[in-house]
Point group: C2
Chain length 318, copies 2
């Protein structure tokens, strides 16, 4: 046992937190997970600034390599990011019967989702709407293995409010929209609200699919339940389902995805639990291999623990 | 962001840690997961003593309710224990074609595994070999919902070294052996070594199954790989497989299970990935309902992330 002697972590700003990061420990605290938090030994603070929207900080940890923090919350780490990036991307894209040609990423400024989308060879357009220009800049400097997603010539980067981008898109523009957001406190709050989901629904082609960061089953079941009920109202005639992945540096060690499909012009709605397409190309020159996703894991990730199935079952169509 | 200001957690004993627990935060550190640790806000220290084998401590946390710590490592919490207890028990017992009649639990002094075994009505004998008498005592006082497993008249409690118990058992005594151990540092080290697995193999009936606490895929892949290779040597003609469950208060938020079956007298070995029996009785008077396990989740829990499948694949037979 070890003790954070005389240490009573108190919520504060990233700037305050950096006092700790000097050869010490960082504890990730938030009102989103009161009374608990992952602690990481921080060897070095590599970057720290305040953007127009949030505190942006990069630290080096022994346990998880380089870590990106936004407003003091871990967004991704070098060691385990692949779990989240692969799953939030390949779950929707491999669920589609026909390969997506137009994909939108909202948020995702670290480039990891772009990297995964770009494994899908048939995609012609990859748009990304990231609100904070500092995030891609920092990613390119400190997370080259994620930021390589920006190098794909099919990628078009818009530094803009994701909601405005989606609202301005022509109806039926995208086969898939992936929302790689932070938690619903701070700048990402609106990305969990009905107007944004209605706008996404409009911007999707018939039979198209969205996949959004959907918090943790162990921590946020009431939020997820509300989100699922709202999706149920928006995706009429389509499908609403939920999957999750394991990832050590997200609160409680897991994160989920809300996956909704727009009604098809004809035929039943998409059932995203069964992959219709094989896993994307893993061996791309300069790319890391696929490290988490497989077709078998795709289906397994929709099987929820009994307590979650009981709570969400009535809002999920699948 | 919050900071453990001036806080450089240093490995120590539970007694030292308790300085923290006075209205402060506890950070779970170990050489088994260097540079990271779950921090919990501790409201009250309910119990603290040193048994013949280890430091035993019970604290009250806001986030996870009552928490049992052995040598400063979280063993179980009121809020999430069901995930581990249900999965380590029902994975082996529901994999068997015929209901188990004789089951041995090694470790498991908190009573949670006993509670789950006792949901299986056909089991006639439930033996438990727990080395530390203080653990059941503490469980009965502070974790009544787990310790109710001790009330089942089929349970026979032996306060003894699990290895000696298994070595002394007649060949072919048990249908299933469940090893609910702490980590392979300290008193539980021998429970991860070959002589113990050989003794368990001997004590199993043909076609019988063991399920052992198998550490975390995210943290301990080299240990798991070694364990799987050793199981492969011991369970000749049987099967060796690996499953996992999500649980927020274990390191990295997950824990796995090594599941091995002894060769059948005739026919192919057991494939534990497919449940042969329905989920056990959930509605038992005075018992909590099943909160994690389902037959569908049973199969899903064996589907490993690509990085783990790649590393363990050659040692697993299934």
């Amino acid at each position: 046992m070890a003790a954070t002697e005389n240490a009573k972590p108190t919520p504060g700003t990233a700037a305050e937190g950096m006092g700790v990061a000097k050869g010490g420990w960082f504890t990730e605290l938030s009102t989103m997970w009161p009374g608990q938090g992952l602690s990481l030994k921080v060897d070095e603070v590599l970057f720290q600034d305040r953007s127009k929207f949030q505190d942006v900080c990069v630290v080096k940890s022994g346990a998880f390599g380089t870590v990106l923090l936004l407003d003091g919350v871990i967004q991704c780490t070098e060691r385990d990011e692949f779990s989240y990036q692969e799953m939030i991307t390949h779950l929707p894209l491999c669920a589609l019967e026909n390969e997506a040609t137009a994909v939108l990423v909202v948020g995702g400024g670290d480039g990891g989702v772009l990297r995964e989308v770009s494994r899908h060879r048939g995609v012609e357009q990859i748009h990304i709407a990231e609100i904070d220009a500092m995030v891609p800049e920092v990613a390119k400097k400190f997370f080259p293995e994620m930021a390589l997603g920006f190098q794909d010539p099919r990628v078009r980067v818009e530094i803009t409010d994701g909601i405005k981008w989606v609202e301005a898109a022509a109806e039926g523009t995208y086969d898939a929209i992936i929302v790689d957001s932070s938690d619903p406190v701070g700048p990402a709050e609106v990305l969990f609200q009905k107007p944004f989901f209605q706008a996404m629904h409009r911007a999707l082609k018939p039979g198209g699919v969205i996949c959004t960061q959907g918090e943790s089953l162990w921590l946020h079941l009431p939020i997820i339940k509300e989100l699922a009920a709202m999706c149920h109202e928006v995706f009429v005639g389509g499908s609403v389902s939920y999957a999750y992945t394991t990832i050590p540096t997200y609160p409680s060690g897991q994160i989920g995805f809300m996956i909704c499909s727009k009604a098809n012009a004809e035929g039943p709605p998409l059932d995203p639990r069964t992959p219709r397409r094989p896993a994307p190309e893993a061996a791309i020159s300069g790319y890391p291999p696929l490290r988490y996703y497989s077709s078998e894991l795709h289906s397994a990730s929709f099987v929820l623990p009994a307590f979650a199935r009981k709570e969400l079952g009535s809002s999920l169509t699948l």
